[in-house]
C-alpha cells in the first residue's frame, strides 16, 4: 500500500509499504477514505520533534471504513464508518477513566522515553515520533487502530467525509482550547494563530458565549477567513500586538488569551533571532514567542489557554507576570474521545461545519507537494485534505 513516510528533515516521500495487520486483541484495521495534514506535522517535517526514524509513516487525522477487527473489540464491526482519534487511549487506566485520554498510561510502548522528557509518559499517538510510541500513521491507505472501541466514533448519518474528518483532531482541539478559556458571557478572547485550529477556535469561542474574539496573524488570507467568522483582526507585522490589545480592551487586556501557534512561532525583529539562534545551538527546543506575549497581554486574573504544541524546555517565560497577575493556565493535548459525542451532535445540528478551513484537496500520492505548500503557506493554503 502507499504511505507517506518521513525520510529525514524536510524530506517526505510516498512509498510502497506492507499493509498493516492486527497486532493486539482490541485492534481494528481501517481503510482510509480521507486524511489531512496537521500543523503539528510541520514540526516533524522541520525536525523539531526528536526520535523520528527514517521510514516512519506520518499522519494522525484520518477516517475510513473498518475492514477487520480484533477479537476483543466490543462495539465496532467490519463495515462501520469511523473517524479515528489521533490520541490513543485504553479506556481502563486512571487517566482514561477521568476522560484525560491524551494522558493514557497504557497506550505508549515507549513510555520510558517520554518519561525522561516529561517526568511521566503520556498517551500514544498516530504518526508522531517514537516518543509517542512510534505508531504507523494515517496518511496511508490502511491503518491499524489500537483500542478501536475507545478511539473511534461511528458515523451513521450520511454526513460527507469533509464534514466529520476533523473530529479526529482539530475540531476537538479548537473546542477544548475554547473551553479552557473559561469563557463567560461578555468576554473578550484573543487568539494568536489563524491556522486551522485558530480558525475553528474562533467559531467555538463564539459558540461558548464570547462577546468578542480578536485574531492575530500575519497572513492576509487567513486574517480574512478569521474576519468572516466574526473576529476582529490584528496583523502582527504591521501593528504592535500588545498595544492594540490594550487599546481594544480599554487598557484591561483580553479576558482570555489563546496560543494556537506553539513552538514554531514567527516574530518580528530581534526576539525571533534570539530564539532562532538558541534553537540552532540546541540551547532551546521551542520558540515560545507567542506564549510570552499571551502571558503579558492577558488581563489580571485571566486565563491563558494553550492548544499550541510545545516540546521541551523554554526560555525567558514571564513567570513574574504569570504569578503576580494571578493567571490560570490551561493546556494539554486534546482528549479527543471525550468530545466525540457532543461535537458530532453539534455537527448534525448544524452548529458548526468545520469543512470551511479546507483549501486544498490532493491525492495521497501528492503528499510531498502538500507538505511543501502547507509549510510555506503558499497558494493561500490553510488546510489540506488527501484521499488515497
Amino acid at each position: 500500500m502507499k504511505a507517506t513516510c518521513w525520510m529525514g528533515k524536510k524530506h517526505v516521500e510516498v512509498v510502497d509499504v506492507p499493509e498493516p495487520e492486527l497486532l493486539n486483541r482490541r485492534d481494528a484495521i481501517v481503510r482510509v477514505t480521507s486524511t489531512a495534514i496537521c500543523g503539528s506535522d510541520l514540526h516533524l517535517l522541520n525536525g523539531f520533534i526528536p526520535t523520528m526514524q527514517r521510514g516512519d509513516i506520518l499522519g494522525h487525522e484520518f477516517m475510513g471504513e473498518i475492514v477487520d477487527v480484533g477479537p476483543d473489540v466490543r462495539n465496532r464491526r467490519v463495515g462501520d464508518r469511523v473517524v479515528v482519534s489521533f490520541t490513543i487511549g485504553c479506556g481502563e487506566c486512571f487517566f482514561c477513566r477521568r476522560e484525560l485520554y491524551s494522558c493514557c498510561d497504557n497506550s505508549n510502548p515507549n513510555a520510558w522515553m517520554a518519561e525522561k522528557l516529561f517526568g511521566h509518559a503520556t498517551a500514544g499517538a498516530f504518526g508522531y515520533s517514537h516518543l509517542t510510541g512510534g505508531f504507523a500513521g494515517g496518511q496511508a491507505e490502511y491503518v491499524r487502530v489500537p483500542f478501536a472501541d475507545v478511539g473511534t466514533v461511528k458515523i451513521e448519518n450520511g454526513l460527507a467525509d469533509e464534514q466529520v474528518l476533523f473530529l479526529s483532531d482539530i475540531l476537538p482541539t479548537a473546542f477544548m482550547a475554547a473551553e479552557n478559556c473559561d469563557i463567560e458571557r461578555g468576554d473578550t478572547v484573543a487568539i494568536w494563530g489563524c491556522g486551522p485550529v485558530g480558525q475553528l477556535a474562533i467559531r467555538c469561542c463564539f459558540l461558548l458565549g464570547a462577546e468578542r474574539v480578536i485574531a492575530i496573524d500575519r497572513i492576509p488570507e487567513r486574517l480574512q477567513m478569521a474576519s468572516a467568522s466574526g473576529a476582529e483582526c490584528i496583523h502582527f507585522e504591521d501593528q504592535d500586538v500588545a498595544d492594540q490589545l490594550l487599546q481594544q480592551t480599554g487598557g484591561r487586556g483580553p479576558d482570555a488569551c489563546m496560543d494556537a501557534v506553539g513552538l514554531e512561532a514567527h516574530a518580528p525583529g530581534l526576539v525571533h533571532s534570539y530564539d532562532r539562534m538558541k534553537q540552532a545551538l540546541m540551547l532551546e527546543s521551542d520558540r515560545p514567542y507567542v506564549l510570552r506575549q499571551a502571558i503579558l497581554a492577558c488581563r489580571n486574573g485571566g486565563t491563558v489557554s494553550i492548544p499550541g504544541v510545545y516540546g521541551g524546555f523554554d526560555d525567558k517565560i514571564p513567570m513574574g507576570a504569570m504569578m503576580n497577575k494571578g493567571l490560570t493556565i490551561k493546556t494539554g493535548q486534546t482528549h479527543v474521545p471525550r468530545y466525540f459525542g457532543s461535537l458530532l451532535e453539534r455537527i448534525e445540528r448544524g452548529d458548526i461545519d468545520a469543512s470551511f478551513v479546507i483549501t486544498h484537496r490532493l491525492r495521497l500520492d501528492e503528499a510531498a507537494k502538500g507538505y511543501e505548500i502547507f509549510s510555506r503557506k503558499q497558494d493561500d493554503c490553510v488546510k489540506i485534505v488527501m484521499t488515497p
Binding site: 516521500e13 527514517r54 481502563e92 510502548p109 505508531f135 500520492d365
Partner: protein, 377 residues
C-alpha cells in the same frame, strides 16, 4: 529499603528484629538474609531517622572533622584544578622534569582523566565510585612517575618532588574512600538494592493472584524465558501446594508452588537458570522470595501490594537485593550504571500494569514502515 544515609546501627537493629519476627514461622529460610519487607509503620520511623541523619550531616562539619562527602567534593575541585593545569601546563611541566617529549601525552591524558573524575565527584550524589576512580588514577600516576624516575634524562629531584606530592594526595584519597565506603553499608557488603513501584487500577488481591502464579511472570518480564514451579527437591512435578503459610482462608485461590526454576535470556542468546523459593506469602499483601544457595546470582526480593490512598487501586512495590559479581568495587561502580537493572524492573512493572488493566501489552512490532526499502511511487 536501606538508605545509605542511615547509620549501620539502625540497619543491624532492623535485621535483628526481622529475624526475631521470623523465628516463629514454620517456613524454613534458605539463601541469604531474606529480610522481611518493611511495613508502613516501620517506614515512618525510617523517615524520621533520615531527617536526623541529614541534620547531623549538615551540622557535623562545623564542630567535628569534615564529613567524607565534603572531603570528596573538595577533592573534586582539586581534580578539576589539577586536570586543567595538567592539560594547559603539560609542556611546561614536561620541560621542568626534563622529559620534554615523552611526558607530554601522558600529562595531557592525566589532565583529561582528572577533569572527568572531578566532574564525577562534584556531580554524583554518591561520590564513592568517582572516589575509587581517583584512587585508581593515583596508582596510575605513581606508576608513571616511577617509570619517569628510571629514565636517564629525567631531573630526578624534581620527579621525586612530584612523586611526593602525588603520594600525599594518594594517602588523602585512600583515607577518603575508606570513610565513604565505611558509611555505605551496601558498598561494604557488596550488595545492591533496588526498589520500584507503580500504581495499578485493580484490587490488590487480583494483582497478587496473577503474580503468585509464577508461570505468568514471563508474560510481563521479557528477560525471563520460562518459570517452572518445582517441588523442594528440584523436580518439576505438578504437585499439591505445601501446608503452612496463610493460603487456607482463600478457598477460591488456586494452590501455588513454593519453589520455581527460572530461565532467563541473557545477551548473545545465552541462557541462565536459577532456583528460587518463596519465603513469605500473604495473599493480597506480599510475596517475598530468595534464590537458593546454589544459584549463580544470589538475590532476594519482595513484591508488596498496598491500596492507593483513594482506595480504588493498588500500589505495587518491588524491592530487590542482589550481590553483583566482583564484590565491593563492582558494587560501587555498578551504582554509576544503576539505571540498568532498575529500568528492567520498572519496565516489567509497566507491562504488568498494562496486562492487568487492559489485558494485553500494546505493541507496534510488526507494523509497516517505509524502512524496508519501499519503492517510491
Amino acid at each position: 529499603m536501606a538508605d545509605p544515609t542511615k547509620t549501620t546501627k539502625t540497619r543491624k537493629r532492623r535485621r535483628e528484629s526481622s529475624a526475631h519476627e521470623l523465628e516463629g514461622e514454620s517456613r524454613p529460610r534458605g539463601g541469604s538474609s531474606g529480610r522481611k519487607p518493611r511495613k508502613r509503620s516501620e517506614r515512618g520511623e525510617a523517615d524520621q531517622e533520615v531527617a536526623e541523619n541529614a541534620s547531623r550531616k549538615r551540622d557535623g562539619g562545623s564542630s567535628r572533622r569534615p564529613t567524607p562527602e565534603r572531603v570528596a567534593r573538595g577533592l573534586g575541585w582539586l581534580s578539576l584544578a589539577l586536570g586543567v593545569g595538567s592539560l594547559l601546563g603539560a609542556r611546561r611541566t614536561a620541560r621542568w622534569i626534563g622529559l620534554r617529549r615523552e611526558a607530554l601525552t601522558p600529562l595531557r591524558l592525566v589532565g583529561v582523566r582528572e577533569i572527568a573524575t572531578g566532574i564525577g565527584l562534584l556531580a554524583a550524589r554518591r561520590p564513592a565510585a568517582a572516589q575509587w576512580a581517583r584512587v585508581g588514577g593515583d596508582v596510575v600516576d605513581l606508576g608513571l612517575l616511577g617509570a619517569a624516575l628510571s629514565s636517564r634524562r629525567a631531573e630526578r629531584g624534581r620527579v621525586g618532588a612530584l612523586t611526593a606530592g602525588v603520594a600525599a594526595i594518594t594517602a588523602l584519597d585512600v583515607a577518603c574512600v575508606r570513610r565513604l565506603t565505611a558509611q555505605d553499608p551496601d558498598a561494604r557488603s557488596g550488595r545492591l538494592q533496588l526498589s520500584r513501584s507503580i500504581a495499578i487500577d485493580r484490587p490488590a488481591i487480583d494483582l497478587y493472584a496473577q503474580w503468585r502464579d509464577l508461570e505468568n511472570l514471563p508474560r510481563f518480564m521479557p528477560f525471563l524465558s520460562s518459570v517452572r514451579p518445582t517441588t523442594r527437591d528440584g523436580s518439576a512435578e505438578g504437585g499439591e501446594a505445601r501446608e503452612g503459610g496463610q493460603l487456607g482462608s482463600e478457598s477460591s485461590m488456586p494452590s501455588f508452588e513454593w519453589n520455581a526454576r527460572f530461565v532467563a535470556k541473557g545477551p548473545m542468546g545465552l541462557e541462565t537458570e536459577w532456583e528460587a523459593e518463596i519465603v513469605d506469602d500473604v495473599p493480597g499483601e506480599v510475596i517475598a522470595w530468595c534464590s537458593t544457595p546454589d544459584a549463580a546470582l544470589e538475590h532476594s526480593g519482595a513484591v508488596q501490594f498496598e491500596p492507593t490512598p483513594d482506595q480504588r487501586g493498588t500500589l505495587v512495590r518491588v524491592e530487590i537485593e542482589y550481590q553483583p559479581p566482583g564484590g565491593l568495587i563492582a558494587a560501587s561502580l555498578a551504582k554509576l550504571f544503576e539505571p540498568g537493572p532498575a529500568w528492567v524492573i520498572q519496565d516489567s512493572l509497566r507491562r504488568f500494569k498494562q496486562l492487568m488493566e487492559v489485558g494485553e501489552i500494546v505493541t507496534t512490532e510488526g507494523q509497516p514502515s517505509g524502512r524496508e526499502g519501499g519503492a517510491s511511487s
